[in-house]
Structure formats: structure tokens, C-alpha cells
């Protein structure tokens, strides 16, 4: 039977190639993702060890609250205490801050896309100067080699550097390799490095340090406990722990990256499974007579289904092998692209872990074989009569059964989705529920959709028939001819379109929610942020910017904002924290205060919060609560106000004064300004002229101030809103493009199905050509058949996607989405795109149909 299965594959090379292709795409995605991230991971692991390698022990403040960037500092007097301990050979303090942005010779801020812009103090153990010398003195700094060469920074020149507190010129005295003397492994970060004192002052540490690195001669453990005895507010970690933490930091970034790619790989594989299933179904149908003959000469039903499973195994194995090879090539290519885009990537071997191969096999081979089970079982039902009967049909379950089963499966999927969207359980559970829910929903729809395929396709085909006459009619009838096949082919396309439509609805809802919030709640006239802030929530600009703006007479008030994710613990849970200036913030951004007053809050002990957590914790204005901050201090806060708009303030709002007491970051994430006297002018229409004049003058004043800080942007209301909408658009555009991949796989599916259908209808095509159908008419009929099927898939996708998108938007907390918006225009474009894609997918099958030799076709068995 193996021989028979193999012969079958070789006989139908094109079909084989197309089926293989869809599996290959899925496997490639999975292997590429893992090979790339595993390679990066091993390189980063090595790097983490290198960085930690020179230090035996690290001393730092113990921290319970907040992220790594919010770790409290330690006094530099501790340095002497540590150095005095027996066995300590060397103790050196380190400081490090983000958003230390160098301005290049042409006045442009050098801000990496993604990786941080770091400021640090110098240490000869990790910074290997390759040109010039180490920094020494308040006006000097050195940078990493990648940043220097990439931006034409020259030793001896003076450059402005924006720090977290202020902007200041420094002379570049040297260029270094980070991590190793031979290659710079800065991983795309820009590194501005100063001597110890300068770093402490410029990076806003004052006389404090972030860590003390200790070299030990003797028993490390003994020294460790001696240092720990200096105070319980400190912790001492070993080299291994430091390396593990460092590498964990790298990993967490990689994990996000891996997860995103794997989600798309998963979608690709899922769509492939649809196509494989459909292909094997058709193949079984086409081989009914042949299989009947086998049965007649004594092949058992079991052997029949086994031969089909063997065939699928060969397809699966081969495409897995190809997928692994292509996936490796893709990961090499991706790494080259990452490196070429100025991301200082250490070179390392390409890693193909057994896990990747196993997963590729499970996916490639497993999916193919699972997808072939139903067709194989169907083939078992073929009786020997099939060899003789003219139009034999395999018995199959009735429509009613199909709709009932499909409906039940769909309901199960929707239930999972609903649970997931309602946010039951942990984030992982939510993701799993949503993912499995979507998957099960698709399967359910696919089982039941043949029931509606015929009527819907008939309706869709009506205009085609009206437009193209007989070829149009044939396209319409052929699309409606085999509802199961049509539904299955359309189903593969539906998945991609559903996901894209869901994304479109959620994206539009987010965009509108943001726009609404900005329109209704924003009364500030100007907005300050740094370049790249859209993409990296950790970016910020020097606090001095807001101070300078505050000095301008034309501005009535300015407010600076900071954000710390998990920056405070209340009621045993970490809370995202926003800080602003209580006295003025309500005049800048209206968060919809429903009780109390933010301005009345005490800057050092006041807190304002969103109505949701207020209700959860049973808090109202005047109540007190205990909050623990990253410096491990617990403060009793008094509720000053409760508000309803979380898009503006987040869930918890404190004053900058409180922040500066308990959190270490000094730069601002965001700033707003209100022009003095503008509201009075706006009230009187006769003063419109002076209003415009005032706006113009203020704009000039702000621009002049901000110009002193390259990389910092001042925007008016219109510009700010546009920037925000652009941000939302670009994020969702990226997602849509990635989802578009499943669209491409579905196209392969349409081509495949159509090629098989055309082959199946060889005689019919011969007949049509004999009685006078021109090649053009024939090609047209094939193309429009594909367009009708694709439109059906597009329509199903848009409808399902719209429902999922609306449901998802409704289920999303108000801090993200307040208004649900359905972008009908975009959805219509998706349907049209699906139709066009169908036409495109049909080009090859249509050509093949047109080229058929009439006499051979008529004589075809």
C-alpha cells in the first residue's frame, strides 16, 4: 500500500506541490521564530555572563515594589562601609539612567528605536576604550562604538546630551566597545558614559548610587553575609544571580517577541490545516473509482484509509523538512536585517534546538495527518461498486446533522471566547481561552457553513451572471456546485479576514476612544513629549524642559507627567502609577472628577483614583489607604478625588512631589501647557484676532524653548491628536500586515482547490470548448468562480470579525476603549480585497483550463 500511496503523490505533482507549500509556510514560520530567538537567547545568555563576569557580588537596595527602573538608590557612603569589610578587594559604585539622549553634530537626537538610550558611569571592566581615553571631569563623556560610527560622532567634538534632569554639552573624549574588547555588544542601546561624579550629578542621583560592585578575595559567602549585615534595606547578590537576572531581562523582551511571532505561526498552521483537509477531501472524491477498484480486487477499507494516511505522512514529512530548511534560512536573513538596522548584535552560532525540530514535526506532520483523518475515514466507506457506477457518491452525514454539530461546536468556541474576553483568570488563561475559543469557533463555522454556502454563493454570483452571461452563470453554478468544498476553501480565507476585521474594529474603537478623550477632556493647549515616545513607554525628556516652559510668562501653567507600571502597592496588589501636578492638572486634562477635587489634594499625601478601583476597594473622598512605594516606604494617603476617565489619568494619580520622594526616575514622560488668558479671549468672538495672535506667539515661545532640547517635541492640539491617531493606526497596520500572511496561505488554498476542481471537470471543459466556448470565456468562468468563493470567505470573515471585534471592544476595560466603532469602509475593502485575491489565485488554474487539449479532455476518464 505504501507503494500505491507514493505513486499517487508522484502522479499528481502540482497538487502535491501546492499542498506541501501550505504546510511549508506554517512550519517555516515556527522554525524561523524559534531558530532566531534561540540564537539571540544563547548570545544574550553569553553576554549576560560576560557583563556579570567581572563582579563577585553586587550590593543594591532591596525592592518589593515597582519594576527594575524604579529600584531605590543607596547612599554612596555605603561604598566605604563595603570596602572596609575583610576580603573585599575592590568596591565600585554604579549609576545608570534611561533617556540619556545624545544630540549629533547636525542637531538630531540619537534615539534608538526600541532599545534604551542609557547614561552610565565609567568602569574599565565593561567599557573597553578603543579610541581616545576614559572620561575624566565634569565636561567629558564617551560613547559606544556602534553609536559613534552610526552617527558620525568624533572624538574631540562637543555634543549636547539630554539627561533625565537637564540638557548639557559634553566633550566626547573616547569611544569604547561594550562587553568585550573586540566587538561592541551594545545591542542597539546608545550608551553615554561619564566619570563617577559627573554621572551621579547629571543622571540625577545626587550623592546616591544604584549598585555597588564588589570584587572578593577569599570566601565569597562570608563577605556576602558581612555586607548583608550592614542593613536589611540592602541586598547582596552573587555573580550567578546577577547573570541570571540580566539574562532574564533579555529573555523577557525575547519572550514577548517570540510569543507574537508564534501567534502568527499558529494562525498560519491553522489555515494550512484547513487547506490540507480540503485537498485530501477532494482527492478522495476524485479517486473514488480507483479506490472502488482497489476494493473490488480485495483491498480492505482499513488498507484504503491507511494508504491515505501514509500519503499525508509523506506530504507532512517532506514539507516539515523543507519548512525547517527555509525557516533556518529565514532566521539567518532576519538576523542580518536586525544587524543591518544598527542593532549592535553580537555574532553567535545559529541555534537549532531539538525542541524546534520536534515542534516542527508535530506541527508539519501532525497537522497534515490530523487534517487527513476525516478524508481517510470517508474513503473507508467507498464500496467496490464505486469502480463500476457512473456517478458514485460517498455516503455522508446530512445537512441537519452538520448544522447541529457545527452550531454546537461554534457555541462552545464562542463560550470560550466570551470567558476569555470577560477576563476570567490570569493573563495566560485569558489568552488560552481566547485562542482556543477562536480556533473552536472557526472549526464550528467550517462544519456548519456548507449549509449556507449554496444560497449565499448563488446570490453573490447573480451580478457576475448578469455581467458576463454564460461564463458568469457557469462561474456561479460551479461555485455553488459543491457547498462543502466551497465552504472549506472560503473557510481558510475567512480565518484571515476574520482576524483582520476584528483588528480593524478594535483598532477603530481604540482610535476613536483616544480621539474622543482628547477632544472632550483635553483643555491644555500644548503637549510635550520626546521623539519615539509612541513606541517605547519608557522614553522621557529632561525635567528641565518643564521648568523652562514654566518660566515663560505667556503660559499660565505647565504640568509634567510620569508613569510607573506597578509603581505602588495598595491592598496587596501592585498598581500602575501616574504622577502630575495636583494644583493645575485639572485645568489641563479633565479626567471627569465625580467627587472631591484633585487640586485640593495634599501633594505629599493625596491620591486621586479611578472609580473602578475606588469601588473595588470601597474608597470614597476623605478615606485613607496604605500605599507602599519602590523605596519600601509605606505612606498613608488620603483620597482627594475620584474620576471616571482612565485614558487620561490612568487608575491612580499622585502629585510629582510624592513621586520624587519615593521613586528614582526624574525625567518626564509627558507634559502639557496652558496659554495664559486664552480662555478669556475665546469667550469673546470679537477678540478672535487677538486669540490667534496669542496662540501664534505662544507657539513660537514654546518652540524656542523646546529647540534647546533636540528630540523633544512640542505639539499643539491638532498635531498632538494627529500623532496619537497615527500611532494607533500604525500599530494596527503592523498587526494587519502580519495577519495578511494567513490571507496569502488561503490564496494558495484557493489555487489548490481550483486546480483540483478544474482537473475534475476535464470532460466538462472539453465539452464546453467543443460546443464553442472560447478560451477567454473559459478562463473568465474559472476566475469568477474563484472570486465568488473568495467573496463568500471574505463576507463570512467580515461578519464574524465584526461580531468578535464589537464584543471584544465592549469587553475591553474603559481605560482603553470607551466607544465602539465599526469601520465599514475598511471592512468593505477587505471583502473587495478577498474577491480580487480570488481572481489572482485563479490565474494559474484558469490558464491550465484554457490550455487543455479538447480531444484529450473529451476522452478523459
Amino acid at each position: 500500500m505504501l507503494k500505491l500511496a507514493l505513486r499517487n503523490l508522484l502522479d499528481k505533482k502540482i497538487r502535491f506541490a501546492l499542498t506541501t507549500l501550505s504546510v511549508v509556510i506554517g512550519v517555516t514560520f515556527v522554525v524561523g521564530t524559534f531558530a532566531l530567538t534561540d540564537s539571540l537567547r544563547s548570545t544574550f545568555g553569553d553576554l549576560a555572563e560576560d557583563i556579570a563576569g567581572e563582579t563577585d557580588l553586587t550590593v543594591r537596595a532591596a525592592q518589593q515594589v515597582g519594576g527594575e527602573t524604579d529600584r531605590p538608590t543607596i547612599p554612596d557612603s555605603l561604598l566605604d562601609d563595603v570596602a572596609a569589610i575583610d576580603g573585599v578587594v575592590e568596591a565600585s559604585g554604579t549609576v545608570q539612567a534611561r533617556n540619556v539622549v545624545i544630540v549629533d553634530g547636525e542637531g538630531n537626537a540619537i534615539r534608538p528605536q526600541g532599545p534604551p538610550a542609557l547614561g552610565m558611569n565609567y568602569s574599565s571592566r565593561v567599557f573597553f576604550v578603543i579610541d581616545g581615553r576614559a572620561p575624566d571631569g565634569p565636561g567629558e563623556f564617551v560613547v559606544d562604538a556602534t553609536t559613534a560610527t552610526g552617527n558620525n560622532l568624533e572624538v574631540g567634538q562637543t555634543y549636547t546630551v539630554n539627561g533625565p534632569v537637564r540638557s548639557q554639552p559634553f566633550e566626547l573624549v573616547g569611544i569604547f566597545n561594550f562587553g568585550s574588547p573586540d566587538t561592541n555588544t551594545s545591542l542597539g542601546q546608545t550608551m553615554s558614559v561619564f566619570d563617577n561624579n559627573t554621572a551621579q550629578q547629571f543622571l540625577g542621583f545626587g550623592d546616591r548610587l544604584m549598585e555597588i560592585r564588589v570584587l572578593v578575595d577569599g570566601d565569597v559567602e562570608e563577605v556576602q553575609s558581612a555586607i548583608a549585615a550592614l542593613g536589611h534595606e540592602y541586598e547582596v547578590i552573587t555573580q550567578e544571580t546577577a547573570a541570571a537576572e540580566q539574562s532574564e531581562q533579555f529573555q523577557s523582551v525575547l519572550n514577548v517577541f517570540t510569543s507574537i511571532l508564534l501567534v502568527f505561526a499558529f494562525i498560519a498552521v491553522f489555515v494550512s490545516a484547513f487547506i490540507i483537509n480540503n485537498t485530501f477531501q477532494i482527492v478522495v472524491t476524485q479517486r473514488v473509482r480507483e479506490i472502488g477498484l482497489w476494493r473490488a480486487i480485495g483491498v480492505t477499507p482499513k488498507q484504503v484509509s491507511r494508504s491515505i494516511v501514509v500519503e499525508s505522512a509523506v506530504v507532512g514529512l517532506l514539507s516539515t523538512a523543507i519548512g525547517i530548511a527555509v525557516g533556518m534560512a529565514v532566521s539567518v536573513l532576519m538576523r542580518a536585517i536586525i544587524r543591518a538596522s544598527g542593532f549592535g548584535l553580537p555574532s553567535g552560532p545559529l541555534v537549532l534546538r531539538p525542541r524546534t525540530v520536534i515542534l516542527a514535526l508535530v506541527i508539519g506532520l501532525g497537522v497534515t495527518m490530523v487534517a487527513s483523518i476525516v478524508p481517510a475515514m470517508r474513503a473507508r466507506r467507498i464500496t467496490p461498486v464505486a469502480a463500476l457506477a457512473h456517478d458514485y457518491r460517498i455516503e455522508r452525514s446530512g445537512w441537519r446533522m452538520r448544522v447541529a454539530v457545527g452550531g454546537a461546536v461554534t457555541a462552545l468556541g464562542v463560550a470560550c471566547l466570551a470567558l476569555g474576553m470577560a477576563g476570567v483568570g490570569s493573563a495566560a488563561t485569558v489568552l488560552a481561552l481566547t485562542g482556543v475559543g477562536a480556533l473552536v469557533t472557526f472549526v464550528g463555522i467550517n462544519v456548519s457553513s456548507p449549509a449556507i454556502a449554496r444560497p449565499v454563493v448563488r446570490v453573490l454570483g447573480r451580478p457576475i451572471q448578469a455581467l458576463f452571461g454564460m461564463p458568469g452563470k457557469l462561474a456561479r453554478e460551479n461555485a455553488a456546485r459543491n457547498p462543502r468544498r466551497t465552504a472549506s476553501t472560503a473557510g481558510a480565507l475567512m480565518i484571515g479576514v476574520t482576524l483582520m476585521a476584528t483588528t480593524a474594529v478594535v483598532g477603530a474603537s481604540v482610535r476613536n476612544s483616544v480621539s474622543d478623550a482628547l477632544t472632550d477632556a483635553v483643555s491644555a493647549d500644548y503637549f510635550i513629549r520626546s521623539e519615539g515616545s509612541q513606541f517605547d513607554p519608557a522614553t522621557g525628556f529632561p525635567a528641565q524642559v518643564m521648568d523652562d516652559l514654566g518660566d515663560l510668562d505667556i503660559l499660565e501653567s505647565v504640568v509634567g507627567y510620569r508613569v510607573a507600571f506597578g509603581g505602588m502597592v495598595v491592598g496587596g496588589q501592585s498598581r500602575d502609577l501616574v504622577s502630575a501636578d495636583f494644583d493645575a492638572v485639572e485645568e489641563h486634562l479633565d479626567g471627569g472628577v465625580i467627587s472631591g477635587s484633585i487640586a485640593a489634594g495634599d501633594p505629599l499625601t493625596g491620591v486621586a483614583l479611578h472609580v473602578d478601583p475606588a469601588e473595588d476597594l470601597g474608597l470614597s473622598v476623605g478615606d485613607t489607604l496604605e500605599a507602599t512605594f519602590p523605596d519600601n516606604e509605606t505612606v498613608t494617603l488620603t483620597v482627594a478625588a475620584i474620576y471616571t476617565d482612565a485614558i487620561i489619568y490612568g487608575n491612580w494619580l499622585v502629585d510629582n512631589a510624592l513621586w520624587e520622594q519615593h521613586l528614582s526616575r526624574r525625567d518626564y514622560r509627558f507634559g502639557t501647557a496652558v496659554v495664559a488668558g486664552l480662555d478669556d479671549l475665546a469667550a469673546d468672538p470679537q477678540l478672535a484676532q487677538s486669540q490667534a495672535e496669542l496662540l501664534e506667539r505662544s507657539e513660537i515661545a514654546i518652540a524656542e524653548t523646546v529647540a534647546g532640547f533636540p528630540g523633544v517635541i512640542g505639539e499643539n492640539r491638532a498635531e498632538f491628536r494627529e500623532a496619537n491617531e497615527e500611532l494607533v493606526n500604525s500599530i494596527f497596520a503592523v498587526i494587519t500586515v502580519l495577519l495578511g500572511l494567513s490571507f496569502v496561505i488561503a490564496l494558495v488554498g484557493i489555487t489548490n482547490t481550483l486546480a483540483l476542481s478544474v482537473f475534475e471537470r476535464t470532460r466538462e471543459i472539453g465539452l464546453l470548448r467543443a460546443v464553442g466556448m472560447t478560451r477567454r470565456q473559459l478562463r473568465r468562468a474559472v476566475r469568477w468562480e474563484a472570486a465568488i468563493v473568495a467573496t463568500f470567505g471574505g463576507l463570512m470573515g467580515v461578519v464574524v470579525g465584526m461580531i468578535l471585534g464589537v464584543a471584544g471592544s465592549l469587553a475591553t476595560p474603559d481605560s482603553f476603549i470607551t466607544t465602539v466603532d465599526v469601520p465599514f469602509g475598511t471592512l468593505a475593502i477587505y471583502v473587495v480585497a478577498a474577491a480580487l485575491a480570488g481572481l489572482l489565485a485563479a490565474v494559474l488554474p484558469a490558464r491550465r483550463a484554457g490550455r487543455m487539449n479538447i480531444l484529450d479532455a473529451i476522452a478523459h476518464e
Partner: protein, 252 residues
């Protein structure tokens, strides 16, 4: 007209004819002469049967005459149109407008109803056809009440009658039938042949039928015998017995 059967008829009355038509498959040593300089004329309003043993070239002759295949040498004419001068597209249009077909089996498009199949060539041409004529053809089939049915809902004989009706409906210059009764039982075969005969007698159609069945051929006005790609004999006003006698003589 049924009595004016001669090989060398005046060209003006010819619905289709072949002049020194030669068809060679392959080349060099393996070349096969399927048709060997055949001259034959099919008169208007006449029912001609082509007979011959397997491999005699009868199907090839039909295919070449009908514009489904091209001759290697010589000429094939439908009316006054020389098929060798036509492009692939014009040949298709000629088949659509000037030639009718009835095949042994699989004559109908399964997704179209009986009447849609009958109207297929005209629909492909985008023309309504001669409505009165179509009505006449349809009523002659005796299938007026089954016109909305799909082929799968019709019996084998009914399907063949629909196929003949399709061939007739466009009023082509000539209809070619390839073993139209090869796939049906005797009674049904007789019924179909009667219908074809009727089309010639009552409607004045020109029909050329390839068959190996003497009984079927006996419905024709004239029988042409082919052996090894050459016309070796012909018979006017045939009976089954005379046909069988000729066939035996030819060693088939």
C-alpha cells in the same frame, strides 16, 4: 434530397467536405497516417454514417471535419470556410455557430438545466437564437416538461435527446455525432436514432454520425466505410444486413 448521394457532388450543396485530407501523428519512423488523403463530401440535408474497424481513422476524420482537430495536409471545409485558415479562436467560434455536436456520453454540463444546455452555444455567443425554431426542436424532443431538470435527473436516453436538441437548436450547417447510441440500451438507441432521422427528414438538417453499430448506421442515407485512413467503400440506402455484409468483406 435523400436520394442524391454521390461522392463528387457539386460544392454548392456541400455542408462539409474534405479535400485530400491527411492526418499524421508523430514523425519519422513512428509516424502514423490516421487519415490518408481523404476526399469526402457531406451533402446538405443528408444523414451520413461513417463506419470502420477500430483504428480506421473514423473518429479522427470526424474530429478534423468538426474543427476539433487540424489536418496535417489537405483541406477541410464547413460550407465555404476553409478550416485550415482559421485561428484557434475563429475555429472555436465556428464550432459554436456552424457545427453541432453529439458525443457518446457526457454530453451535458451537469450544473445547467436541460433547456440551459440546449441554449448553451447560443448563450455563449450572447444571442437569443431563433425562438420559433428552438420551440420546434424542444417539442420534438418530447421533454417539454423536463426542461428545468438537471442532467442527473434525466435518464440516459433523455440526456442524449437533450444533446441532439442542443446540436439542432443553433441551426448549424452540420451536426457531428460520435456513437450517440453507444452508451444506451437498444430501445433507447432506436428512440434517439429516430429523433435524429426525424431532424434530417422534417427539419432538413445535415448529420454525420460515427458508429460501429450496423443497426444504427442503417438509419443513415449513406454509409461511408473507412479502413486504414482511406475511404474504401460506400453504401446508399443501407440496411443492417447489407452493412454487415460490407463490414465482413472489409475484414472488420
Amino acid at each position: 434530397m435523400s436520394d442524391s448521394a454521390t461522392v463528387a457532388a457539386p460544392p454548392t450543396h456541400a455542408a462539409a467536405r474534405a479535400v485530400a485530407a491527411t492526418k499524421i501523428y508523430g514523425s519519422g519512423d513512428t509516424a502514423v497516417r490516421a487519415l490518408d488523403a481523404i476526399d469526402v463530401t457531406f451533402e446538405q440535408g443528408q444523414f451520413t454514417a461513417i463506419m470502420g474497424p477500430s483504428g480506421s481513422g473514423k473518429s479522427t476524420l470526424m474530429h478534423c471535419m468538426a474543427g476539433l482537430d487540424r489536418v496535417t495536409e489537405g483541406q477541410v471545409l464547413i460550407g465555404e470556410i476553409d478550416l485550415s485558415t482559421l485561428s484557434e479562436r475563429d475555429l472555436t467560434l465556428l464550432r459554436r455557430d456552424n457545427v453541432g455536436f453529439v458525443f457518446q456520453a457526457f454530453n451535458l454540463v451537469p450544473t445547467l438545466t436541460a433547456i440551459e444546455n440546449i441554449m448553451l452555444p447560443m448563450d455563449l455567443a450572447g444571442s437569443a437564437g431563433d425562438t420559433d425554431w428552438v420551440d420546434e426542436v424542444v417539442s420534438a424532443t418530447g421533454l417539454a416538461d423536463r426542461l428545468k431538470h438537471r442532467p442527473s435527473e434525466l435518464s440516459g436516453g433523455q440526456q442524449q435527446r437533450v444533446a441532439v436538441a442542443r446540436a439542432l437548436a443553433g441551426q448549424p450547417q452540420v451536426i457531428f455525432a460520435d456513437e450517440p447510441t453507444g452508451n444506451v440500451d437498444l430501445n433507447t438507441g432506436a428512440e434517439i436514432l429516430g429523433f435524429i432521422r426525424n431532424a434530417v427528414d422534417e427539419m432538413g438538417q445535415t448529420i454525420v454520425m460515427v458508429t460501429h453499430d450496423a443497426m444504427a448506421a442503417s438509419y443513415a442515407d449513406r454509409v461511408v466505410f473507412l479502413v486504414d485512413g482511406k475511404i474504401v467503400d460506400e453504401l446508399v440506402d443501407p440496411t443492417p444486413e447489407r452493412i454487415r455484409a460490407h463490414m465482413n468483406q472489409l475484414g472488420a
